[in-house]
């Protein structure tokens, strides 16, 4: 069924009785052309683009929980393409363009809202760095504006501009950045992939990867063995564990990132703001809650909950940037597990095993990359070569020295 204004009207009049489930509850077949491990945004987008762009429809997406139960529902939903390095900009800008057409493409309301993302600067050196970043963005066709203090005051007057230690001097604004509703993104991709014949198998954990004669043979799952000509791993947070099924060791550590949601407020903040003197980012959801987060916990973790030390650090950052938050109650707080790669950039590449592909290492940035990562992984699977926009995301770049270290901190995953 296609969503339209007419459908909405019809169902408003017939007691909302005309809606059907968005995708089938598929049971796995014995074999597939392509099996994608992980039914998050990336895995579902990969299946969708395989079917839509490359005509490969004999595809299964295997998910250990239910759609939307993983990291797809744990992120803070920010979209942006304000990157600086040559290997990154084309990829994230491709993603931004896909977001801009996503809802029409999927016929699904993902609540994509290009409300702008504002990075604050507090020193001359930081402003210089923003000039450099903004210039790199504009040279690559991405929008970027350098704002002075007065322009920032006009946008977000309630920030602490005259803080003695880190007065706000201005900011770098990407107007096309913004937010989307993360659940709707995975639901939309699942529905669109399902409509093109993709089997979405939920509650089916992958327990092993089988190889025969140095080639991929299929995956062992809770629902039995599934044979596959090609297998892709797309399991943010658990990449090392799943790759280990195939005997692979990865250049990454798993870390926990906490996120916070406040009680609902009237409209207050109409863009995404990031603090430059600490690590803190905040936006307001359409329900009115403020959604925010900050640093990773410093140690590797698979526990999906963080420590109080980081909780209080985030709270201190919040008050330093936006003092009015002091009266606000936090309703929810949770932790999601990130694949922190050794240079802070992702990997979309073949593995040493024939027919096994890998997508992971997204650090903090997996959600915004959902459409582009899906398209590039689908391209890699279908054509056996990297999409031009993702050509730098090689697994062997750590050995060849072609690391993409946007933050410049080296192989310290907890600092990226």
């Amino acid at each position: 069924m296609k969503f339209s204004g007419l459908q909405l009207l019809k169902n408003a009049l017939n007691g909302q009785s005309g809606w059907a489930p968005h995708w089938r509850k598929a049971s796995p077949k014995d074999s597939y052309d392509v099996v994608i491990i992980g039914g998050g945004g990336h895995g579902l987008a990969t299946a969708y683009y395989l079917a839509k762009e490359f005509g490969i429809r004999d595809v299964a997406v295997i998910e250990k929980g239910w759609i939307g139960s993983g990291n797809a529902g744990r992120n803070t939903t920010i979209l942006r393409s304000n990157y600086m390095l040559a290997g990154n900009i084309p990829f994230y800008e491709l993603g931004m363009k896909l977001w801009e057409g996503l809802e029409q493409d999927l016929n699904y309301n993902a609540m994509v809202s290009q409300r702008g993302i504002l990075n604050l600067c507090h020193t001359d050196a930081q402003r210089d760095a923003f000039v450099r970043r903004g210039t790199a963005m504009r040279l690559n066709g991405v929008d970027a504006e350098l704002l002075d203090r007065e322009a920032v005051v006009k946008m977000v007057p309630f920030l602490d501009f005259d803080n003695a230690r880190f007065p706000i001097q201005g900011g770098l604004l990407q107007r096309r950045g913004g937010t989307a509703r993360h659940d709707a993104v995975v639901w939309g991709y699942a529905r669109a992939a399902d409509a093109r014949g993709v089997d979405i198998v939920e509650n089916c954990e992958v327990t092993g990867i089988r190889q025969e004669n140095g080639r991929i043979a299929g995956v062992e799952t809770a629902k039995g063995f599934i044979r596959a000509k090609r297998v892709a791993i797309s399991v943010a947070g658990n990449s090392s564990r799943v790759a280990a099924f195939a005997g692979l060791r990865l250049p990454m550590e798993s870390h926990v990132l906490q996120a916070f949601v406040s009680e609902s407020l009237k409209p207050l903040l109409d863009c995404v703001v990031t603090f430059g003197a600490g690590h803190f980012y905040i936006s307001q959801s359409d329900k009115g809650s403020l959604v925010f987060g900050g640093d990773l916990d410093p140690f590797p973790s698979y526990a999906q909950r963080g420590s109080l030390a980081v909780f209080s650090d985030v709270a201190e950052n919040a008050i330093a940037m936006m003092p009015l938050l002091g009266r606000l109650r936090i309703l929810r707080n949770w932790g999601g597990i990130m694949d922190m790669s050794m240079d802070g950039s992702p990997i979309i590449d073949k593995t040493p095993i024939d027919g096994l592909y890998f997508n992971g290492g997204w650090c903090y940035g997996g959600f915004k990359a959902t459409p582009a990562a899906g398209l590039c992984l689908a391209h890699l699977i279908a054509k056996e070569e990297s999409h031009p926009a993702a050509a730098a995301y090689r697994l062997d770049r750590f050995a060849t020295g072609r690391v993409i270290d946007e933050k410049g901190v080296g192989p310290s995953p907890n600092l990226h």
Binding site: N238, S240, R241, R249, L250, P251, M252, E253, S254, P298, F299, P300, S301, Y302, A303, R305, S307, L308, A309, D313, M342, F398, A399, P411, S412, P413, N414
Partner: protein, 93 residues
């Protein structure tokens, strides 16, 4: 979250910095440009076992006694199983 520093006793997480996986130094290879040496280097610097479970890692008591520690910790529960001085660890090996 309290870490039992061998010198200072139980101290808060905020006093520490974490320097990642603690494992043996790679074997010394005299010819640093050889493929074998490069493989060992890349493996030691960039690749990790990243286990879900017990993990040995280096911690630094930055805002305390400044000792380097070897911490054995469960990455699934955050339970600290063992904390010892790096030098004790090295003496054993």
């Amino acid at each position: 979250m309290l870490i039992k520093c061998p010198y200072c006793g139980p101290r808060d997480l905020a006093e520490f910095s974490v320097a990642g996986e603690a494992k043996e130094r790679p074997k010394f290879v005299a010819d640093f440009d050889s493929p074998q040496a490069q493989t060992l280097f890349v493996d030691a610097v960039y690749f990790r076992d990243n286990p879900a479970g017990l993990h040995k890692e280096h911690w630094f008591h930055a805002a305390g006694c400044q000792a380097w520690l070897v911490v054995t910790r469960d990455t699934q529960t955050h339970a600290f199983v063992n904390v010892e001085l790096t030098r004790d660890e090295e003496r054993l090996s």
